[in-house]
């Protein structure tokens, strides 16, 4: 059987990993459109190096994805308008718990700084260690710890007991599996 070309290898890998990339990107970007853009931009950036990373593209792609999410936010922040508080009705709106909890979490993530959000997603969704997170983001270990602490404190303030309720009432496909590994990991 002939060796696949670089192009073919890339296509195969993207076909297999694109959904996962989009999930991470969605958490980083906060909406579907930006998530697709983020993945697209990431793949465009990694293609020229594909022949060098083909053996193990995952870490490099993840690094580019997370750094691109931060730099893209910097480029567009001037046209974004943030609010410091979640809409009150989202905190109290309970008749569709699954939809509401997701929306509350999505908006809470958007209240974090890009680096804080990237640390949270890489640590608690992709399951990276602090050292791996620091490497992926190009930050020092101490900076990652600081961002992680601050992000957690802010999320606690924003979410209150929302996640506690969610953990008692599983809503997602991976909920209730009892797995100790982060949800985003295989």
């Amino acid at each position: 059987m002939p060796e696949p070309t670089t192009h073919e290898h890339f296509d195969d890998w993207v076909a297999a990993r694109r959904p996962a990339l989009l999930r991470t990107a969605y958490l980083l970007a906060g909406n579907e459109h930006d998530a697709e853009d983020l993945v697209q931009a990431t793949l465009i950036k990694v293609v020229p190096r594909w022949h060098r990373i083909a053996d193990d593209p995952e870490p490099y792609v993840r690094t580019v994805l997370s750094r691109e999410s931060v730099s893209r936010w910097r480029r567009r922040r001037w046209r974004e308008l943030h609010t410091d508080r979640l809409p009150e009705d989202l905190r109290t709106w309970r008749h569709d718990r699954d939809v509401t909890d997701r929306e509350v979490l999505r908006q809470a993530l958007q209240r974090l700084s890009p680096r804080q959000r990237a640390v949270i997603v890489l640590r608690y969704f992709d399951g990276l260690t602090e050292a791996e997170t620091a490497h992926a983001l190009g930050l020092g270990l101490g900076t990652v710890k600081k961002h992680g602490r601050e992000a957690m404190a802010r999320l606690r303030g924003l979410l209150g007991d929302t996640l506690g309720d969610a953990s008692r009432t599983p809503a997602g496909p991976s909920a209730g599996t009892g797995s100790p590994t982060p949800a985003g990991q295989p």
């Binding site: 969605y26 697709e36 293609v47 020229p48 949270i120």
Partner: protein, 478 residues
């Protein structure tokens, strides 16, 4: 990343704590599960099979434009820099041979402030030194000028005079003097003091001689605790410098009170530059310096004229009658210890000669003078404005017949520029036509060209990025 597959396992070699090992204080129970739940809202789009080729095209486009931008920057900046260096390099010097007689130029022309300097390299003897606007340092890039010293060589070449870095500077009393043959310049220099310096940046510690023909600098330092208050530094002939100073008696705290706290005076010192010897010939300071003669301060209206060759001394009446207004540059010492000076004021005034026997003659018909330069029994030369012109917009060097007050113009300096020095050996020789000083391209032009190249390079880079984006989006990117 969020889904299982067999391509990679990012958790290998993990050494740090996992989120589940965090203390309750730093974790948010259920966060990982909630993130996973939220991530399922992510879009599920199909893979674009053209992405790879589009990405490669975008990459090639970006690389091509970046290379073009770098080439423009490197070649452009190198060209601008090289051109600037070439156009500012001094023209090749034609050594003054027998066919090129030495002499003073009849006119010192205006020159570009970007004219080349001597830069400490061997040059030629200078016939005349005048002040002129000069652009140096970073300010030259934007056309800022200061006061420089323009030299015209004895062969008629123009060049700015670059003095040693430790020259005290004219603003700090650092007068300088051109030797009679124009080969050397004597000046005051700064340096280290043994105690707290009077001026941390500019404490004068001695004199130096710059040989223009070799570029060599010879220094004569003085042991000083706080620095020196410069007195005279004048050439008595082509080899000997007469100088004097006063030791400053305190550090920076006396900066505004120099007169009251001045320390010991050096008396009159004679430095034979070639022999390397310094002799103190008098306890008194010099009041007039001429060819191989010095008049030192005496009591009242009288001083002592000392012959530097024979050492003989002669009691003379001083030119100012004991009321000294300026420094020895205001007085010229001629043959037989006669002294000529401007007796009316420090402004352009009348020339008066005081002979050793006390007789005094004035010359009301001659042009007014600012600075007397030579004096013989029959003639004198001095620097002054043109006849009847108090404003001195055009300075002239006059040769005056003392018997008739008839004046002949030797040298003209348009533009109100001050005279710094003249090679007095040349004043009796025929003047020469100086060379064309040239018109170096102003440095700001090169600055603008460099900025243009940078902008062009930046434009190419930005254009390349835009093309690459277009290629990545599916365009040709060409």
């Amino acid at each position: 990343m969020g889904e299982s597959d067999s391509l990679s396992d990012p958790r290998t070699d993990r050494t740090m704590t996992t989120p589940t090992e965090h203390s309750a204080q730093h974790t948010l129970p259920g966060l990982d599960r909630a993130l996973d739940d939220l991530a399922h809202k992510a879009p599920v789009g199909a893979h674009d099979p053209t992405l790879f080729s589009r990405s490669m095209r975008a990459h090639r486009t970006r690389r091509a434009w970046t290379s073009a931008a770098l080439a423009v920057l490197v070649i452009g900046l190198a060209s601008v820099t090289g051109l600037a260096a070439l156009t500012r390099a001094p023209s090749s010097i034609q050594p003054a041979g027998s066919s090129t007689p030495a002499g003073l130029p009849s006119v010192v022309q205006r020159v570009s402030p970007y004219l080349a300097g001597t830069n400490g390299e061997p040059w030629e003897a200078a016939a005349v030194l005048v002040e002129a606007p000069r652009a140096t340092g970073a300010g030259a890039l934007i056309g800022r000028t200061g006061t420089g010293i323009l030299a015209v060589s004895t062969a008629g070449e123009y060049r700015f005079l670059d003095l040693p870095d430790d020259w005290t500077g004219a603003d700090s009393g650092g007068l300088l003097d051109l030797s009679p043959d124009g080969r050397r310049v004597a000046l005051w220099v700064t340096g280290e003091t043994s105690g707290a310096p009077y001026d941390a940046d500019q404490s004068t510690v001695g004199v130096a001689v710059l040989d223009l023909t070799t570029g060599a600098v010879t220094r004569q330092a003085v042991d000083t605790e706080h620095g020196l208050d410069p007195g005279e530094v004048r050439w008595a002939d082509d080899d000997r410098v007469v100088w004097s100073y006063t030791q400053i008696a305190g550090g920076p705290e006396i900066a505004d009170d120099l007169v009251q706290v001045s320390g010991d005076s050096s008396g009159t010192l004679v430095w034979d530059v070639d022999a390397g010897t310094v002799d103190r010939i008098s306890d008194q300071v010099p009041v007039a310096v001429g060819t191989e003669r010095v008049v030192v301060q005496g009591r009242g209206r009288w001083g002592t004229c000392i012959d530097l060759t024979s050492g003989s001394q002669q009691r003379v009446r001083t030119a100012d009658g004991g009321f000294w207004l300026g420094n020895s540059e205001a007085v010229v010492l001629g043959e037989d210890c006669a002294q000529g000076w401007n007796y009316t004021s420090m402004l352009p005034g009348r020339f008066q000669v005081t002979r050793a026997d006390g007789s005094v003659t004035t010359h009301p018909g001659a042009p007014r003078l600012v600075w007397p330069l030579t004096l013989t029994a029959s003639t004198a030369t001095w620097w002054g404005p043109r006849r009847g012109d108090q404003a001195a917009t055009i300075g002239r060097l006059w040769s005056v017949d003392l018997a008739t007050d008839e004046a002949t113009e030797i040298l003209r300096v348009p533009g109100g520029r001050g005279l710094v020095g003249v090679a007095t050996d040349l004043v009796d020789l025929p003047t020469i036509e100086a060379q064309d000083p040239g018109s170096p391209v102003p440095l700001p032009w090169f600055t603008a060209a460099g900025a243009g190249v940078l902008l062009l390079g930046l434009g190419l880079l930005l254009r390349g990025r835009a093309r690459a984006r277009a290629a990545a989006a599916g365009g040709t990117g060409a």
